[in-house]
Symmetry: C2
Subunit: 385 residues, 2 copies
Amino acid sequence: MATRNFNKLGEQFGTPLYIYEADRLKENLSNLLNYITYPKSKVYFAAMCNSQFEILKIIKSLGIGIQVNSEHELNIANEAGFNSSDISFTSTGISKVLMRRLIEESIEINLDSVEEVEKFCSFVTNKTFGVRVRLDKKIKINSTKTTNNFFESNVGIEKKDFNKIKEVSQKTGNKITGIHGYLASNVIDTKPFLEFGNFLVNTAYVFPDLEYVNFGSGFGVKYSEQDKDFDLEKVLHYYSLLLHKLSKCCQREIIFKIEPGRTIMADVGSFLVRITNIKNLNPKKSEISVDAGFAEFPRPKIYNSYHEIENLEKKGTRKKVYDIRGNTVLQNDFLGQDRILEEVKETDYLLLKKVGAYGFVMASGFPGKKLPKQILINNGNIEEI
Amino acid sequence: MATRNFNKLGEQFGTPLYIYEADRLKENLSNLLNYITYPKSKVYFAAMCNSQFEILKIIKSLGIGIQVNSEHELNIANEAGFNSSDISFTSTGISKVLMRRLIEESIEINLDSVEEVEKFCSFVTNKTFGVRVRLDKKIKINSTKTTNNFFESNVGIEKKDFNKIKEVSQKTGNKITGIHGYLASNVIDTKPFLEFGNFLVNTAYVFPDLEYVNFGSGFGVKYSEQDKDFDLEKVLHYYSLLLHKLSKCCQREIIFKIEPGRTIMADVGSFLVRITNIKNLNPKKSEISVDAGFAEFPRPKIYNSYHEIENLEKKGTRKKVYDIRGNTVLQNDFLGQDRILEEVKETDYLLLKKVGAYGFVMASGFPGKKLPKQILINNGNIEEI
């Protein structure tokens, strides 16, 4: 179904409305898998970007794993049918209770601190675990649009503590079998990913029992016409080469792991809204109020993020400059500013693009709204999910 | 119940846990009402700061009105027992459908634009409405902690358009009977409130049918020891004086209206969390992970807001510097940084203060969490709400 016809879905289901297209997800994942030229790989979908149950069921049906960051996400993953062997748990500050559960259910864990390693090793012997590695600050990210900069945080275990965690695990007969890193979130430049890949694989040589390298994700999405396209093929091809070299050196096949979320989910989702009022600000510009804003789609306000907005009623009318905002009392609640659209009228439909990741999942309904409906277009069926 | 004993509630209900104390709400409102020295006044609780049903029922029982900013909030207000005459609707971009409903149900509306006035007047004759007034940019706010600055927005009707809206309403036999303004949100200095009061009341003289002046709210809350106390008494006393003068001049009693939210709700709520892990960063500082963060209480991340954090297990141990963060994969998800607490241990309880306004209502559960429980302490009863 062409997005220009999504206004029909608005008539049927009402607005605001999240619309997901399963075909895009399948295509995105298929492309991504083709870019990996290393034979032994495992892809985990980052559930935090969209943990909608029906979406996770599709992900499951496509044969990849899932990365979860909390007990609640673990429960949803289980309900969606993922086996323990297809779940990777990476987070921070894991409690004793949760640690025991993860161990009991044989979920792969990447531990974030010396203290977590000590906790793990105080519980069990002869088990395996992975570690999150603290990033090398020499890696530079140019993108100003990065939503999460891991350099500023204290995530991961520092190089200086590697001997300590190796000692703790050796003493208890446990093995460090994986390393994991996160570069950042939504980085468009490929260069830092290549540097990060080198850094992470260089770390790998320190761990003699290594079985996998998990590069996390953070692959950028081209949200606006002004953005560059992210060269996912280049990055995954490079990581594949690194794993080839590493495996050769280790004389065994090390598993290549990644955790894409946004890169395969963003353009799966669109957000349909309807104009409730148009306020003329000056002869050149008007402010459109629509029936959704921060309450239903917080990214623009929280991250100052850009999403293309299409006027679905365009009929070759003259163009005007518009601010588009939620119809609440909340200020600076803009879905877009200074957008040039063909002239709109009240009750017209607008469509926001690439909202499938970090969209509905971040919505609180504040101020004063219900959470919007979500529908899934899959194999020609359209159903509310 | 002293907050230092809230850990017992953690044992009973689990964490994370929002805890509301009805007594504080009653006391806060009572103080506020005492500060109004003008006889004809009406106070509306700003539902957007906390629209929890049981809280709204208490508000209703205390005899004040409610300010809503959306159709959904209007529905909740109705369910909580508020009559139409106790509801004030102020928002932006009101749709035709909602406008008709508000008119039919005789809800007081403050219209935000010329276009909304035209819409209203195209529907009915011989009705009354209020208007939101665009702020005078000469009013200066010093506070850097203001969460919503209305000067940067296009909210309200500009002075230059007053004649136009008066004309539109006169033609249709409708009357502009109220003016409404918002200064900003959480302003600690009183000076801008006094200037704003002058500005709004000066606007009042333009509208011959005026029945009320609604000063909105935006009254600041002292969140940290470093903040000044907000002098609510001074501001409400000054507004009262302005209304006395205005009424004298108009030779009839104009109604004084305000819409407090945060100022009566903030310290009603506390947020109880539990430590899941402690990571030593360096000899002087550690990072505490707790079982809640952005997912359950987004204010610190969205607004960089400060909330006092109390260690409920303190036993005279030595003090240390801590960062306190949510135990998720999300970066920069801090509830507090560089806080000095008596030394903590895993499973200790921490209490965040003044979270009753813009707390739970903003929580989305992202990333990967369920929404936390809420309990209400009222007349000695403790119940989950």
